[in-house]
């Protein structure tokens, strides 16, 4: 009958992986199960003690595990924008975008003052930054890849907005000549931030569920 590893032995594997640079908890949890399953099988087949089975496994497989982790980190960076992009083109955010364009358009049409482009978007950036910072702060011990991947689109959005306002917002000629372009760009950037916030809260919920099970 197969002997299952106890909590101390599983913690040993977890600590070993963490000390070997496997930082992300969500990825590490999957590896712990893989390594533990392989060790249990080896203990049963070769009648080995835990430590001997662990050592034999790592001698043969550690390089493969590290390669897997590096590939995962590279893919994480590549897919982060794709994930946000997919969220933006969902029906609810397409509607959100159309509403934002309409609100800005109506504001400019009926208000005596032009739409406060810079102020509205900066409030959104600061809110997103605060949510990200305070949202991840309590979990710094447990780095979660799906949360950190959202940092990339956030940083990129901030740079895009910074560039946009540095180039155009003080240029009344641009706003007067192409008000619809300014309207659409601003609405898009606000939509991107809103999509980021939704993904952030979704991933936070998944993370909390994961942590509750550990």
């Amino acid at each position: 009958m197969i002997q299952h590893l106890d909590k101390d032995e599983l913690n040993f594997i977890d600590n070993y992986l963490r000390n070997s640079g496997f930082d992300y908890l969500d990825v590490r949890l999957e590896l712990i199960d893989h390594v533990a399953s392989a060790i249990e099988k080896s203990m049963e087949e070769h009648d080995l003690e835990f430590y001997d089975a662990f050592k034999s496994y790592m001698v043969v497989n550690k390089k493969g595990l590290e390669r897997n982790y590096e590939l995962f980190k590279k893919r994480l960076q590549k897919t982060s924008f794709l994930v946000l992009g997919k969220e933006i083109i969902t029906p609810k955010f397409l509607i959100f975008f159309c509403v934002a364009v309409t609100v800005i358009y109506m504001w400019n049409k009926f208000s005596t003052d032009p739409f406060p482009y810079a102020q509205s978007v900066w409030i959104a950036i600061i809110s997103a930054g605060l949510v990200y910072f305070f949202g991840t702060l309590p979990k710094k011990r447990y780095r979660i890849s799906s949360l950190e991947m959202l940092a990339w689109p956030l940083v990129a959005s901030s740079y895009a907005m910074n560039l946009y306002f540095n180039l155009w917002v003080d240029d009344s000629y641009f706003l007067l000549k192409w008000p619809l372009v300014a309207n659409i760009l601003t609405a898009f950037l606000i939509t991107a931030i809103a999509a980021f916030l939704r993904l952030f809260f979704l991933k936070r919920k998944q993370t909390n569920t994961l942590l509750a099970k550990t």
């Binding site: 299952h4 106890d6 999957e30 794709l82 550990t214």
Partner: protein, 112 residues
């Protein structure tokens, strides 16, 4: 052991096919099933398996379920609806590839 480079391009199709047959599986189980089916000829390493699983998940072809088993968390993978359709397409592509390879390696000579 067979030359694993020959299998590399078909790894995601192999995973999809197994999940189509078994319903849901976890990483280690997939490696063992492949080893068993190929009588030890093909051994999938962690370095190849998990990047392939994560890629299929990111493409929306796989869904993930997490369950607590034997004091630890286990991630089960299963096909999404899109994944089921894609499995049919990829298997057809693979079969076509195998047929082409057979034709290339064993050409039937004809007298003109």
């Amino acid at each position: 052991m067979a030359n694993s480079k020959l299998y590399k391009g078909s790894l995601s199709t192999i995973i999809l096919k197994l999940l189509d047959e078994e319903g849901k599986m976890y990483g280690y189980e997939i490696t063992q099933k492949v080893k068993q089916l190929t009588k030890g000829e093909l051994k999938i390493t962690e370095g190849a398996l998990y990047p392939a699983l994560h890629k299929l998940e990111a493409e929306g072809l796989l869904d993930v379920e997490v369950a607590k088993v034997d004091n630890r968390l286990r991630k089960y993978y299963k096909l999404t609806e899109q994944g089921e359709k894609e499995t049919v397409n990829r298997l057809a592509e693979l079969e076509e590839f195998i047929r082409s390879m057979e034709t290339l390696l064993n050409p039937k000579w004809k007298l003109l």
